[in-house]
Amino acid sequence: MKENTDFAPVMIPQDYKLDSPVKWCAGCGAHAVLSSIRNAVPETGVKKENVVFVSGIGCSSRFPYYINTYGFHSLHGRAAPIATGIKLANPELSVWVVTGDGDSMAIGGNHFIHVIRRNINMSILIFNNRIYGLTKGQYSPTTPKGSVTKTSPEGSIEEPFNPGELVMGSQGAFFARVVDTEPKMMKEVFIQAALHKGTSVVEVLQNCVIFNNDVHENITGKDVRDEHQIYLKHGEPMIFGKEHEKGLIYRNNKLEVVTIGKDGISKEDILIHNARCTNSTIHYNLVKMDQPEYPVAMGIIRAVDKPVYEEMLYDQLDHAHEKSPIKCMDDLLKSGNTFLINESSS
């Protein structure tokens, strides 16, 4: 991303506030995400005119109306291709996509995997409330199996997606997970997502207080969160637990939860998180960790360097222009086979 470097960002969160009212339900997890983003964006060092928020359709996708940047509230599922067009048209823009679990993985599933595969530089925030909020409570592609919803009165019989697995399967270079109850974590991760060159996907575990209240409670609840979450940081050991007594090791081709000081395990045995490792085996395992066997991984799980689509595209454009003798339309019109008819070629 070629950011404008001669611009000193003196933006504050207030710069991104709009006068119009935020219309999410009281108590909706999205409010906290919005304020974390307003806090994060000024710290990405991007000129405010260069920030664009694009969304699909859903409760979460109302987001662009609540932040004072360029914004595009588009079609259900189509935020990724719209954002793609914006980024390719002007690579200097800092492009954010805000989407829901249905928006990105049901109707927009195809676009989601392809934008990641291409590695176009943008940050995709999935507000995963594991339900269709805007349409009032039908199961989504991330709804846990067995859930009773308006369209699954006997319990959902579908196997849910894990967004991180899709990202890995799409050769994703950046995946992070955060919860809507941790503003500090959200802000840190959002900034890193924006600074990462390439497609970065952040799954936000968001609570829908109306149609799926407490769906993430077993991860985010005050009394369980220390045991049921692990906040991963690059270069630091994978330790969690109230007393920082638990950790992860890799044994017999799988991750394993261990207790430091027990069974001969010392702190040195605990895995150090390497988010930049190009081999995705460990990342994949981390992404899949779930209750009750494992804590759920939070933070930046994977962040590796990979060629960025629009940079390669603009290199090709520049190179083609330099190389070709056809520099303008008149050149093109007269190129190749042309025929002078009833005139001498003088």
């Binding site: 119009s20 405010k48 005119e49 260069n50 664009v52 694009v54 359709i57 662009p64 109306y65 004072n68 940047t69 360029y70 914004g71 595009f72 509230h73 588009s74 079609l75 189509r78 990724a80 291709p81 719209i82 954002a83 793609t84 067009g85 914006i86 980024k87 390719l88 048209a89 002007n90 200097e92 823009l93 195809n110 676009h111 392809h114 595209l313 090709q316 454009l317 083609a320 222009h321 190389k323 070709s324 056809i326 520099k327 303008c328 339309m329 008149d330 093109l332 019109l333 007269k334 190749g336 086979n337 042309t338 025929f339 002078l340 008819i341 009833n342 005139e343």
Partner: protein, 617 residues
Amino acid sequence: MSKNPRIIELEDVVVKFAGDSGDGMQLTGSQFSDTSAFVGNDLSTFPDYPSEIRAPQGTVAGVSGYQVHIGHKDVTTPGDLADVLVAMNPAALKTNMKWLKPGATVIIDIDNFDQKNYKKAEYIEDPLNDGSLEGYNIVKAPITSLTRSTVKEFGLDAKTADKTKNQFVAGILFWLFNRDLTIGENFIQKKFKKNADLVNANIAVLRGGYNYAETIEAMSTTFLVNPAKNKKGLFRNITGNIATAWGLLAASEKSGCGLFLGSYPITPATEVLQELAGRKHLGAITFQAEDEIAGICSAIGASFTGKLAVTSTSGPGLALKGEAIGLAVITELPIVIVNVQRGGPSTGLPTKTEQADLLQALYGRSGESPVIVVAATTPANCFSFAYEAAKLSLEHMTPVILLTDGYLANGSELWHIPEMKDMPEIHPPKVKDNHEGYMPYIRKPENLARMWAVPGQEGMRHRVGGLEKADKTGEVSHDPYNHQIMVGLRQEKVDRVANYIADQEILGEKDADLLVIGWGGTYGALYSAVKELQHEGRSISLAQFSYINPLPKNTEEVLKYAKSRVICELNLGQFAMYLRSKFPQYEYKQYNKVQGLPFMISELKAKFIDILENKGK
């Protein structure tokens, strides 16, 4: 070279090349049309592909054709029936017999006319001996074997050697049309310049074909078509798809809005994407999306960011893009949707032509969703209408659907090369940074186009989206009266485009006994049929529409005075339905064809004469 036996000067000639998909007939045909242009003939071409890439060799399903119509007189269609047919195998002969003029010259590759190939072509009897070729001038040329023996000395592998067969055919035609062989040799030099062996082999085969034709006695007469009498200047031979791509490039250069094409391959529109993908040197950005929807959505994103945004497709793809076109309508962002029509519904006839997407283009979206619809009328004027579509879209801030069709897209004709300085100016309503009081839905009073600010501009941050927006501010609004105002404004904006487009022309008298009405790609055939009947003294005229929505302001005038009217289209009557809804006071007859084929001049003439002579009915 010895004198040709008997030379007949012709006003025009239709030559059809037909063979297996692998025989290189498209190449032979385009080489023939290039030489024709080189000697100054007017021309029109039409390829005829099977939809299978390589259907079993020698079968009827695998026949690929290429028709070339050249003329000293003006040529406006690839011609109804062929004067000369080159058939590389029995299947090619079988498929094309019904499109031959009486007495036509038929050149066959006799090497392929054996029991094995008769069987593949499902001939019950040997066509060479069952009398079916009576009345035609049959030239049984051993094309394959003579080609092979000619190239022997060049040491080519069998496959490459057989590929030079088309030069043998070319050689025969050089002789048949009394053309200077050096033109063909120069073409070969240019084409294979990197490979001396190929140059020599191809030239040897070309000469082989020429010498063969000269020595055999089957062709006692040869033809001469003099340079086009009504053409003068610098020309090129161009297909509709390439002309479309170039028209978009030209509009991009003129408007200063970089070109962005988001698209997904689909026959017969793919070439627009392919051509522009190769034009990065002119700054064109192409994005081959994961599907049709992503194609148009990426274009809408690029439009939001200030580009000349385009998506290209065919009918099934247009259906997928419907929702996104609605988004461009409500956000009032410019975008050109190129729809190259093919036979439908569904996958239908992918490689064949039809005009049955008209109503889809006009109405195929949710809500009140007006867009500008224009239609190109000839392969070359796809350039002008692509340019015009882009100009209208950018200046009026609205989606434009450009309708072409398989016939225009793959067909070609001679095109008088324009100069960019003569192309009309394009002024999109872009605003400067920090424009005071900017609101995204403030409009230009004269044409109601909204003012266009794009991300990156200082002091212009704003949001657009698919929810209904308040007049001027663009804030989300569910107010009932506001919705009525906005629906009205979007409609009025498109209606007012009528003030900016050309009047509808009539070829002939406006009070003719019969006014023929067509639209888009049927122009060539309708023009020829009407012209010929006018020459025969009939009172008949033609109005060929290119501006469909809105219609030109003088449309009522055009329709009013005719004593009868017939609407001709390659569908079941979609334009007829449209005109009846706009001008119900007139009576319209219809002539409709849905065979995946263009109109033939002869069938049109017969129909028109029938109407003229049975006026009362």
